[in-house]
Amino acid sequence: MSRGEIQTITLTINGAEKTLTVHPSETLLDALRRASYTGVKHGCKTGDCGACTVLLDGQPVHSCMIRATEAEGHEVTTIEALAAGGQLHLIQQAFIETGAIQCGYCTPAKILVTKALLDRNPDPTEREIREALSGNLCRCTGYVKTVQAVQRAAAMLRGEEVEPFTPVEATLGPGRSPTDVVERYYHMAEDEAPLPPLLLSPPEMEPLRVVGKGVPKVDGVKLAAGRPVFTDDIKLEGMLYGALLTSPHAHARIKRIDASRARALPGVHVVLTYKDIPRVKYASGGQSYPQPPPYDQVVLDNKMRHEGDRVAVVAAETPELARRALRLIEVEYEVLPHVLDPQEAMQDGAPVIHDEPDTESIYDAQHNIVHHIEAEGGDREVQWAKADYVFEREYRTSRQQHAHIEPHVCITYWDEDDRLVVRSSTQVPFHIRRMLAPLIGLPEKRIRVIKPRIGGGFGNKQELVLEDLCALLTIATGRPVRMEYTRRQEFTSSRSRHPQIMRYKVGVTKDMEVVATELYLIGDTGAYGTHGLTVQMVGGQKGLTLYNAPYSRFVCDVVYTNKPPAGAFRGYGATQCFFGIETIMSEIADEMGWDVVEFKRKNWIKIGEELLLSKALGEGREGFEQVIRSSGLEECVQVGLEAMDWYNKRGNEAWRQKDATTRRGIGMAVMLHGSGVAGLDMASATIKMNDDGSFNLLVGATDLGTGSDTILAQMAAEVLGVPVEDIIVYSSDTDFTPFDKGAYASSTTYISGGAVRKAALDVADQIKEHAALMLGLESAEGLVLRDRKIIIPDGRELTLAQVALSSLHQQNQHQIIASASHMSYESPPPFGAQFVEVAVDTETGQVTVERVLMVVDAGRVVNPITASGQVEGGLAQAVGFAHCEEMVYDANGHLVNPRLGPYHIYKANEMPRIEVIFVQTEEPTGPFGAKSVAEIPMDGIAPAMADAIHDATGVWIREVPFTPERVWRALRAA
């Protein structure tokens, strides 16, 4: 930016007149963030996501779409204005109380839109709320609680009394049929939408004091206030800006690369190409040691294997200079033949994507088969001989993008001890530290990884994608460096869900018994292996376990193509394979004339059964034998059938025919998932008591918006007899928190929770022992921690503060502190049933999702508000996967929809009615009886929609997403 181009503008920001120096082309977004209004976020810079929304003269606008100069003389309001004086605005308060904040990245924008709406309309309808919020994409919440937050805020601003926001609770057991419970709930909720979550408990389940309560998120206030808590919200002295040059070709070799012009540009500090970086092989998937093979990547290579592959990286004084420098790098490519279809990639003569000699452990590089997996259990001949009928079907799923609103972003810098600090939006800080060290030539002890708040991840941040490049730029320059993916790079250079081709073969008897199931799976891992092995193994294991046939066989080829690498994505292979198994089960029932629910019920896995393939199919290695110890699946289905009025709709022609050209349908699917990776995932926690009886809880667990910091604090508080506000959580810092595998595999509640519970029990024992010492008791037996006190059986009491002060300053002086680790050889499955109602336009093929219900057994629910938020958000992603989301490539391997708009994730004003019901069980191996909840919502919507579309039209669609043209063609072919 030359001095001559700079302009000075005067405007009012949050009520105060400000003068900003801006470039004529600078957006209001960049100008505001440069001026430290970091509550203004960004997610696309194309006006699609709405995260950058500010109020301009009271009207919401995308600050990325207007120039700063256009704001001259106008009044700009950012989130920082709302909590002036430290007092939260009622809107912010309502967002916290209703659980409308998950990752919190898009929250400031939504709160500002809410303010603008309520300023003009103090009593908006739900439709008006959804319409107002339609420009604010949210990938976490499913918008349910956002609407509830706005309704609550409106009531509060009108001066009305509002009830505490709590789930509806009921007991489900003898004498209380699901019908009674659900009818009571639905009667109560008549004309109210969206509904609060319903929590059903077995009669023998004892309520706990803190666990099971919908306490507000521990990070809610700072997120609602828009404080600078995300990776990109700091600006370090002397910070440079990194930028990445990526391949325009799907498959090419760099013949010549000349960065001299870029390096000569004033303000450019370094340009790195493959010539400047040691060639160290690695795999980018953030998984436990040793990472599954193959190690088929290097930081920068001379061969490009997909559009968006890394070519070169630059660090410069400003982002604009960095981008200019990229344009000055001269690259001459030898364009190579490419292959996009995994089946074609396996053919003789297909282009070989990994022809480099230094990648080991590729199963068949000449045919682009990175892994070949075979596993089976049971007696093949005996079981197939029992089958009276054999069904074979093929199903296909598409490439879905995570579309977290906060892009991948990383800041690296040297600290005062010459240690490299990596501040990154990662789900796996400890894995990143371990994986990064060999790539940048530093020992692990000289690396510290910090995970601030994350704006969503969903698996995409379980990868090392920017940290190595950013670190190398800091090492080369000695300066802090910030790097961030553009939204386009999120599509072309990060990860996605593996597209799969599934060929299921199922043998059934005339008595509805599934005796044999085989799955041949082709997993398209794109250009690199990363999670290719583990995703397909999980998919096969889950897809063949739900019905756990006496004979099951899994054969899989994981195949390279010249597309961006697939990776971890919520559901992790199960989402795809459940589409196949649940649809073929529904197809079998339909063809045989069986009641689909009865057919599935007869065959789904039940308590006491051993998962046939759990040993053969671990994650990237042999697993461990698993037995189902808890299951609420039967209750989930019963409750769901009643809530949906299933038997009065399914097959009911009068209900089906909505109008002349629109037919309704209802469908269902059941599913299970896991709770962490058995025998591999490990977490640890440290709890330290403070003088005032409060506690520091240090966890390596990574809260990426899920609320894990909150539920872990609840577990500690439950054991220690204190409210959650007495637990100060610090998480995800490799220097100051103990190890945790990170946030993936639905492991945090079960594994990290197990560690917190153990540490808390240890601390509780220490407190009791010290209390016994203080009171001259011979034993600590019978002492109870409750209400911030130690209750002695003889009626005496000590406060926790008294014990803390005594232990630190007076008697037997020591720090009451404990660390504990937890792993498990079990991964107890949560279970669920999902129901979908659709309307199919038989002339256009357009499918409208009208209603979605998930009834889920997640064991004991630690926090019904955050857990239901997880389910609602997962359902929204699942509906997108099934209905509209698809990364589409042209014949040259170029992505044709690399923007949030054309890609399209669901908006607030088009979401179907979404409801969540929990059926609680007690999982004996879980902390407080808990299992997981994070991924299972992804698993059944696609097959339930396929079932519903079939119910409406008689046509089976075996490929997702169910786009209008795909459905139209199927209807025409029928």
Binding site: G47, L56, E131, G845, E886, H904, K907, E910, T963, E965
Partner: protein
Amino acid sequence: MKNDQTKRILWSIVADVPLQSVLEDSRCPPLLRRTLTGTLSWQTRNETSVRKALGMPRIAPRWVAALMALGATVTVEGEAGPTEVLLSVGTRLPHPHMLHIPLVEGMRWGEACVARTPADEPIVAAVAVVEMSDGLVRQARVALTGVWPEPVRLAEAPARLIGSPLEEERIRAVAEAVEKEVAPRGDFRGSEEYRRAMAGVLTRRALEQCLRQEGENE
């Protein structure tokens, strides 16, 4: 502005105003309201002027199609002074000053679209406006999105309706003619074949809405 039979009001809008102001104007007819909501966000309406929306029809293609179906014109500044231009095929207007929307008493309208999801940008959308007089169609305009790179007002097919009663059989004939008249290009959301078929289906539906509709001011 009046003629013998029909009350006709010309709603003129300065091209500088944002689309949100158009939406909030009490004169804004339901057809335009409908095409300004759903797909278009509040933020986009606030930051997009009428001029910008007309110059870049991909921002609000259904709204532009609705203007075409309404017979809207714009005043542009040319070398020979201000000129009034009818919004029609591929209109790209670099510097429109005013937008003029005729609002006709008894006007009937219909709008139909197909999209991946309810608030996604339609793959194809059809807007029809029919003016009736003495039981006969006096004017019929159909505009579509998704069958050309930009919104298009069809020239030939709707003319078949003029001078006759609005009847289902004629509507079907027009819809078939529309399929022949359009020249869509396929993309990832819909092939050429699909878009062509939808042009017919949606035109028929839009006109059927007109058939079922009492005129707005009738």
